[in-house]
């Protein structure tokens, strides 16, 4: 619409030909959104939003930390890092020679690793010499590396917001670029999905361990949340550290990363959305040219593990020289559950804005907490996740007070219907939030890719509003009674302990 106005102002007559963006509803999106599933199984979505000569893309791989193999937690995240290391063409001075050198690195590392794990008969001299052989092989392979060439090439061509993230449920890659670089992007993205090279793997492993130290070991809430999830889950991988347990992430190998790629980065497991100054008729053939070369593979088998029902309350208490914090969580079903929107309603009523129940009760009226919120689907929702509630006590107030006050709010939800205003507010805000997100290439690309992955149809992004509109007061009460039970609860708290009594910090991170 902006184009029309400017065109009208500047040229008058161009008005008639310039594209008009009509009302932001499903019908308007259907007109400018094209989906194509390539013969190799890859799904492409192109959404035309020609407001400026730029585009954003979002690649969603339907595999995340929950898919880390047993004994190799952190591998999905490690692979995400490696996806910036280049391809058989980008980041190397001589790939055939580098390939040979990298194979030697793996052999040398495997020998060193075997001795390292040989706990009973370990020979220190042998270990040291094997380590030297490994370091030499690594140095040899590095001679062929053009470091960071992949990311640099993107940045030189105007990429912004270049990043990736690994969640429990999926791994995503994204950036924005001037629209005249679309073909270059298609070349780069398809090559790293099809032909990534695990170069500089063991140095990147050190980088990832620094990331672990930053997010978990050296952060009181990071440490607490890791323990909280490990306690809440006995069988499902949602209980494992996404960044990886220190012992495991320090021992994963490039070979394991390659295997992970082979299994999970198959086209049938990937959806890519492109939004911006693109025309489907012109763009699709370009995308097909590059992305159809990715070799097909079977979609990975669904996970067998289902978290067994919890039948006893579990809690952990951390005593350290840190200000108090309280969190608790209740197992809930996954996102496909018919009551999914009722959990959203509870999140909204508990946490959204200054009318939220937890804010009004714990922060405003009782004056015991600095913050209090509840939210659904933690640490993921592809598999049954938690509905979690936390509160940050004000100085002079205890975690026990937080817990009691939270339980009072949960009980109220179970015994009394929510008000008409609360229900209506939830629905109004859900609609407005959806609308507000539609004028943003980056956010749209994310949403289209995510809904296409989860529901097999991006249109569900709009249809979700019908599910939300259908939520009733009794749904909320029923769901609350279903999950907010003592036996379904896991809690974690930090209680302040003065430094003199403190036990040594158990922060992992051994070298």
């Amino acid at each position: 619409m902006r184009l029309r106005h400017l065109a009208a102002a500047l040229f008058g007559t161009i008005l008639a030909v310039a594209p008009l963006l009509q009302a932001q509803d499903l019908a308007s999106f259907e007109k400018r959104t094209t989906v194509k599933v390539l013969p190799n199984g890859l799904t492409l979505i192109v959404c035309e939003r020609p407001t400026a000569p730029v585009f954003s893309y979002f690649t969603l791989v339907d595999a995340g930390s929950a898919d880390d193999p047993q004994g190799a937690s952190g591998l999905a995240h490690m692979f995400e890092h490696m996806a910036f290391k280049g391809t058989t063409e980008i980041g190397t001075t001589d790939y055939p020679a580098e390939k040979v050198a990298l194979a030697k690195v793996e052999i040398a590392y495997a020998a060193y690793d075997a001795e390292l794990r040989n706990l009973v008969h370990q020979d220190p001299a042998k270990l040291e010499s094997l380590h030297k052989v490994f370091l030499a092989a690594q140095a040899d392979a590095e001679k062929f590396v053009i470091p960071n060439q992949f990311s640099e090439l993107a940045e030189q061509n105007g990429a912004v917001g270049l990043n990736a993230s690994t969640g429990e449920d999926s791994t995503q890659f994204f950036w924005s670029m001037p629209s005249n670089r679309l073909e270059l992007w298609a070349y780069m993205e398809s090559s790293r999905l099809a032909h990534p090279v695990e170069r500089e793997f063991y140095k990147e492993r050190d980088v990832v361990q620094e990331e672990r130290r930053m997010r978990i070991d050296s952060s009181p809430t990071g440490r607490m949340v890791e323990q909280f999830l490990a306690t809440a889950y006995v069988a499902h991988p949602y209980g494992r550290s996404g960044v990886g347990w220190e012992s495991e992430i320090s021992q994963v190998t490039a070979t394991e990363a390659e295997d992970f790629h082979k299994k999970y980065y198959v086209p049938a497991n990937i959806v890519i959305a492109i939004v911006g100054d693109v025309k489907a008729t012109e763009t699709m053939p370009v995308l097909e040219k590059y992305f159809s070369t990715i070799p097909a593979g079977p979609k990975p088998a669904a996970m067998t593990t289902i978290e067994p029902p919890q039948f006893a309350e579990k809690s952990i208490i951390i005593k350290e020289e840190t200000q108090p914090f309280y969190i608790e969580g209740y197992h809930r079903p996954d996102y496909r559950d018919p009551d999914d929107s009722a959990y959203d309603a509870i999140t909204d009523i508990f946490s959204n804005g200054r009318t939220a129940r937890l804010y009004r009760a714990l922060v405003r009226d009782q004056g015991i907490a600095a913050e209090a919120e509840g939210f659904s689907g933690f640490p993921g929702d592809k598999y049954p996740g938690l509905f979690a509630v936390y509160a940050v006590p004000l100085p002079g107030h205890t975690t026990t007070q937080m817990r009691d006050a939270i339980h009072k709010q949960l009980d109220l939800l179970k015994t009394t219907d929510i008000s008409d205003e609360e229900l209506q507010r939830f629905k109004t805000r859900a609609r407005a939030d959806l609308l507000r997100g539609l004028a943003d290439n980056e956010g749209l690309a994310h949403q289209l890719a995510e809904y296409q992955t989860r529901f097999g149809d991006w249109r569900q992004l709009f249809r979700d509003l019908d599910k939300i509109d259908a939520v009733t007061k009794s749904d909320v009460r029923r769901v609350a009674n279903k999950i907010f039970m003592d036996s379904n609860r896991t809690s974690a708290q930090i209680d302040f302990q003065a430094p003199t009594q403190r036990a040594p910090a158990s922060t992992g991170g051994a070298q």
Binding site: M1, H5, P50, T51, A52, P53, V54, S65, E80, E89, T92, N148, S151, E155, Q156, G158, A159, N163, N180, R181, E183, L184, K203, E204, E210, R213, S218, P220, G242, V243, E321, S351, N352, R354, T355, V363, R364, G367, E371, G377, F378, Y390, V392, P393, L394, P395, G396, T399, E421, T428, R431, D433, E450, D495, F496, Q497, A505, T507, G509, Q511
Partner: protein, 523 residues
């Protein structure tokens, strides 16, 4: 919508996120006002020439096969960024209008000069408390709690905030609710009713922040860095304490409001789906009758930079050190700003930059590493190079960072480095003005700080003309290793090489003075 709630929780991002992100934080200006978004542009340029020029430049580079160089880069589609309309009322109030009809919303921001850097030292925290209490108290006719109910039922917002250089009021609503939401905004702007219970609420939250500020190592590092660079007496270095928070009264708010909310101290920016003539008429009739007052005086900076040395905060519960190398930066109107920007890009601009290549990729010593010779609009920014590294490699990482700083002067940029740095800046330039909100933010920020409206256009030309000699010249002129301080927040018992090998060590005392009025933490 629930699919995204796991990552879109504002707080869980910092406290309870399980997502791991690849990239480090972009270099930030710790002193930027809350309104300064990504810079943007004002004029219309011939884009075709630029895109082609770079295509040619790129293809002249030949090493290995590099098949991507065969991929055509067509001229960028012509694009005329939306420019906001500027209106100045006779009483000095400046209005920017930006039409954007893509979605049926209307939003606005009111920028009022005067912020925390102008508050009395004995009442540090005043402006922040004011920013919270203003909205939560509400107006004489509708208290804050009633506003919450009314606005949230419409999925609308009105918010107030206290920043470093300004206070703000902003609103946003569906177009159909504009009249009622705007009326309330104006009522809140002109007739606030600061209330004791809401001041108390804001105070308790701020006290909780003070009580918790030593729990997070990166937070300690950020705070102590400002303190070292700007000094404990400066308005950029000092921090709120229990006593200074306690000293703030409702009367302070009243006089702050009376002094700052005058038309010649205000910039108003409105964007969204409206008719500009009708909007202009409405704003003129609403604000035209306000009487002029005394404008907030220009901020005078008097910073000398840190006292060189090694400063250490010992933190027993971490296994990673936050390292920062610190000095004073410059202002954005410095004629050397363009050359310094290119220098920054070469030094730490992206994955290909020297600092990232060395400390992260080559040495594997850090996940988070960044740095920039920073610049702010109306006072010197911070020259800051930071990294987080395991305790044992604290000294090695610091040494690597110092080496890279030194090389800025001794190793001039290669032609390849210069070309890449300029391409990164120029090819991504479109993202500074690819949405109406960005161009609006840019113009408002420039107007707020009294910069010419074509600043961004000049910036582009400025970057284009930077030479390798310029970069060397500014590196030698501005980088002085003897004036830098080193800050380490970490666990000294785990550091195998002592930090004293880096220089004379001063241990910083971060004990929080006093106790919170609510009582000490539970034990």
């Amino acid at each position: 919508m629930n699919l995204f709630s796991r990552t879109s929780q504002a707080l869980s991002k910092t406290v309870i996120s399980t997502e791991q992100s690849e990239w480090r934080d972009p270099s930030i200006s710790p002193v930027a006002p809350p309104t300064s978004g990504a810079p943007s542009m004002a004029r219309l340029w011939p884009w075709v020439g630029l895109a082609t020029a770079f295509l040619v430049a790129s293809t002249t580079q030949a090493q290995s096969p590099e098949p991507w160089k065969q991929i055509p880069v067509p001229p960028l589609h012509a694009f005329k960024p939306a420019e906001p309309t500027r209106i100045e009322l006779p009483n000095g109030l400046v209005i920017f209008l930006q039409e954007d009809h893509e979605l049926p919303f209307i939003s606005g921001t009111i920028l009022i000069r005067g912020g925390s850097r102008d508050e009395p030292a004995a009442k540090t925290g005043l402006v922040s408390l004011y920013g919270q209490t203003w909205r939560t108290s509400g107006t004489a006719t509708a208290d804050g709690d009633i506003l919450d109910d009314r606005l949230e039922a419409k999925a609308a917002t009105i918010e107030t905030g206290g920043g470093v250089a300004l206070t703000t009021m902003s609103w946003s609503s569906l177009k159909s609710d504009f009249d009622s939401v705007f009326t309330t905004t104006v009522d809140l702007l002109l007739h606030p009713a600061f209330k004791a219970d809401k001041l108390q609420l804001a105070k308790s939250q701020m006290e909780a922040g003070i009580a918790r500020r030593n729990d997070d190592a990166s937070g300690i590092a950020a705070r102590e860095a400002s303190l070292l660079v700007y000094g404990p007496k400066s308005s950029y270095g000092r921090e709120a304490q229990y006593a200074t928070v306690d000293a703030v009264t409702l009367a302070d708010f009243k006089s702050w409001h009376d002094a700052t909310v005058v038309p010649n101290n205000i910039i108003l920016a409105v964007s969204g789906d409206f008719d500009p003539a009708a909007m202009e008429a409405k704003l003129r009739s609403t604000f035209g009758s306000l009487a002029r007052g005394k404008a907030t005086p220009k901020f005078k900076a008097d910073f000398t930079g840190p006292k060189p040395g090694v400063y250490v905060v010992d933190k027993k519960d971490v296994n990673q050190s936050n390292v920062a190398i610190l000095g004073l930066g410059t202002e954005r109107n410095n004629p050397d700003y363009y050359a310094l920007s290119v220098m920054n890009e070469i030094f730490s601009g992206g994955f290909g930059s020297r600092l990232f290549q060395d400390v992260r990729t080559k040495l594997g010593l850090a996940y988070q590493v960044s740095g920039a010779y920073g610049s702010s609009y109306d006072h010197p920014g911070v020259f800051e190079v930071t990294a987080s590294t395991k305790s044992a490699s604290t000294v090695a990482a610091t040494q690597a960072m110092l080496d890279e700083i030194g090389k800025l002067k001794t190793v001039p940029p290669t032609p390849d480095e210069l070309r890449k740095a300029k391409e990164e800046q120029l090819n991504s330039f479109i993202f500074r003005y690819d949405s109406p909100d960005k161009t609006l933010n840019e113009q408002v920020t420039l107007a707020f700080f009294g910069y010419p409206k074509d600043f961004l256009e000049k910036y582009k030309t400025g970057i284009e003309s930077v030479t390798a000699a310029d970069v060397s010249r500014v590196a030698n002129k501005y980088i002085d290793a003897s004036k830098l301080a080193i800050l380490v927040v970490g666990n000294q018992s785990e550091m195998t090489t002592p930090v004293s090998t880096l220089g004379k060590v001063t241990t910083l005392d971060i004990t929080i003075p006093g106790t919170p009025p609510g009582g000490p933490p539970q034990q």
